[in-house]
């Protein structure tokens, strides 16, 4: 209980004065080094959940205790905490006016006061890790989708986050590029990074997931180890969902 990196308590997010309940009371503890995979039908609140964790969406109610601090408290400077929570988006969201190197070094140099040279060195290290050291001076428009996503991962890692949030990182990719991005993520997982991953890649969940979570209607419906989760799903809606997803 006490080794939880993130504790989420009764998290709610309503839109339209409560008519839409994107999150309807979510409780979860995420321990250091865990890889939590979230699946669920479209519109069930997966993105809202991830964005609430770093307050890109303001929760309507609830606590998000990150490294001992309730970051949903209005007196907390959330920018500091966001530096420790890397985020990777479905549509990459690279900065088009910056080179690959510029994308990666922008936040560390501006926010952490890291020198240009140090930032560059670290960026090149990360680029080697994502196998794109030859693209340092390219602009995002010159990269393939898979390359963009690997750069986006490197950009998030450059802040040395304690947790990485992935929102369907491979959904916008051509099939042949999915593998190269998942490989990087698996490597990251094996390296001990705490990860929360929204994805439809069940293979990834089985291979490196510590836990798999099924979201539906803004709530956690089921939560289990990958083996149990896929072999013996209990919730009828999960059974239904899996029968559609696993062909």
């Amino acid at each position: 209980m006490n080794d939880a990196l993130i504790q989420v308590r009764d998290l709610k997010k309503y839109y339209d004065n409560g008519r839409i309940k994107a999150l309807d009371g979510v409780d979860i503890d995420i321990r250091k080094g865990e890889v939590v995979v979230i699946i669920g039908p479209s519109g069930c609140g997966k993105s809202t959940f991830l964005k609430s964790l770093n307050l890109l969406e303001m929760p309507t109610e609830g606590k998000i205790i990150f490294e001992g601090v309730d970051i949903n408290d209005s007196s907390v400077n959330v920018n500091i905490h966001r530096q420790k929570m890397g985020m990777v988006f479905q549509h990459f969201n690279l900065f088009p006016h910056k080179t690959v190197l510029g994308n990666i070094t922008l936040a560390p140099t501006k926010l952490k006061g890291i020198s240009k040279e140090k930032g560059r060195e670290r960026a090149m290290e990360l680029l080697r890790m994502v196998h794109l050291e030859d693209k340092a001076d390219a602009y995002p428009a010159q990269l393939s989708g898979g390359q963009k996503q690997r750069i986006a991962i490197a950009r998030a890692l450059a802040m040395d986050p304690d947790v990485m949030l992935f929102d369907e990182p491979t959904s916008a990719l051509d099939p042949e590029m999915v593998g190269e991005v998942l490989d990087i993520m698996k490597e990251l997982a094996r390296g001990g990074m705490t990860m929360i991953v929204v994805t439809h890649e069940m293979g990834f969940a089985k291979e490196v997931g510590s836990r798999v979570i099924f979201f539906d209607g803004g709530q956690i419906r089921e939560e289990n180890t990958p083996q149990e989760f896929f072999a013996h799903p209990k919730d009828p809606r999960l059974q239904d969902f899996l029968s559609k997803v696993l062909i």
Binding site: K51, N54, L56, M58, S74, N79, I80, R82, Q83, M85, G86, M87, F89, H91, N93, L94, F95, P96, H97, L106, A107, K110, L111, Y139, A141, Q142, R155, A156, M159
Partner: protein, 245 residues
């Protein structure tokens, strides 16, 4: 034929050479340029402020409302004032604004050019504000999310990520505002400023020749606008190239 030519030359002489009337045109052109350039500078500064307030309110209003406090109240009042400003300025003719400025608000200021600069500057500020705001709004929301998720605060996200991209979007429209403004300043004569149009009109009054001075005025505007439009095309081409990169 020669007779017609001679009378034309005579008219030309009376309109522009006699009494050095061409100097009026030159002075008028100078005033038109001064009013336009300085008004645009005021417009840009005012536009940045108004666009910043309005965009901040649009994008952060909800989050700030939750936190509450004086910052949110200031922002809300600021947003209200900006909206009022935009409605009034864009809802009334610029000539009327100019006259109100000259005959009522700045009645103690005798320098008509200065009054015109202020009036056109304020007017242009309303339009420039909307140009800037639409430029900021045109940037994908994912860019803000990416910036904020890295730990940049709202202002840093704007400065390092959104505005550099928005400037590219906005530059052609902003340049177009310059072209529009040059023509709009032609009503400066209403408050006794000797701009290009007024100069032509003055020559018409002295010489009782309407054709030559008025067409000369039109030609000067046209040449300026054609040159500026050319420059605008070059800017657009450059920007498109940098996008393809």
């Amino acid at each position: 034929m020669t007779e017609w030519f001679n009378s034309l030359a005579d008219t030309f002489y009376r309109c522009f050479i006699e009494d050095s009337r061409w100097k009026w045109m030159l002075e008028g052109l100078g005033n038109t340029m001064i009013i336009t350039v300085f008004a645009l500078m005021i417009g840009i500064i005012l536009g940045i402020i108004v666009a910043a307030v309005r965009s901040t309110y649009d994008m952060n209003g909800a989050a700030m409302k939750k936190k509450g406090g004086p910052a949110y109240i200031f922002l809300r009042i600021g947003n209200f004032i900006c909206n009022l400003f935009l409605t009034v300025i864009r809802g009334t003719p610029v000539v009327v604004q100019l006259m109100i400025m000259y005959f009522i608000i700045l009645i103690n200021v005798t320098n008509g050019v200065l009054v015109a600069i202020i009036a056109f500057g304020i007017n242009s500020g309303a339009y420039v504000a909307e140009i800037f705001r639409s430029g900021i709004m045109s940037i994908d929301e994912g860019q803000i999310e990416a910036g904020r998720s890295l730990g940049f605060n709202y202002i840093q996200t704007m400065i390092f990520i959104i505005i550099p991209q928005a400037v590219k979007v906005v530059l052609p429209t902003l340049f177009n505002e310059l072209i529009v403004l040059i023509k709009e300043t032609s009503v400066a004569g209403y408050v006794g400023v000797m701009d290009l149009t007024k100069a032509g009109d003055k020559i018409r009054g002295r010489t009782f020749e309407a054709f030559m001075p008025l067409f000369a005025v039109a030609a000067v505007y046209l040449v300026i606008v054609i040159i500026l439009t050319r420059i605008l095309r070059i800017i657009e081409k450059r920007l498109r190239k940098s996008e393809r990169r």
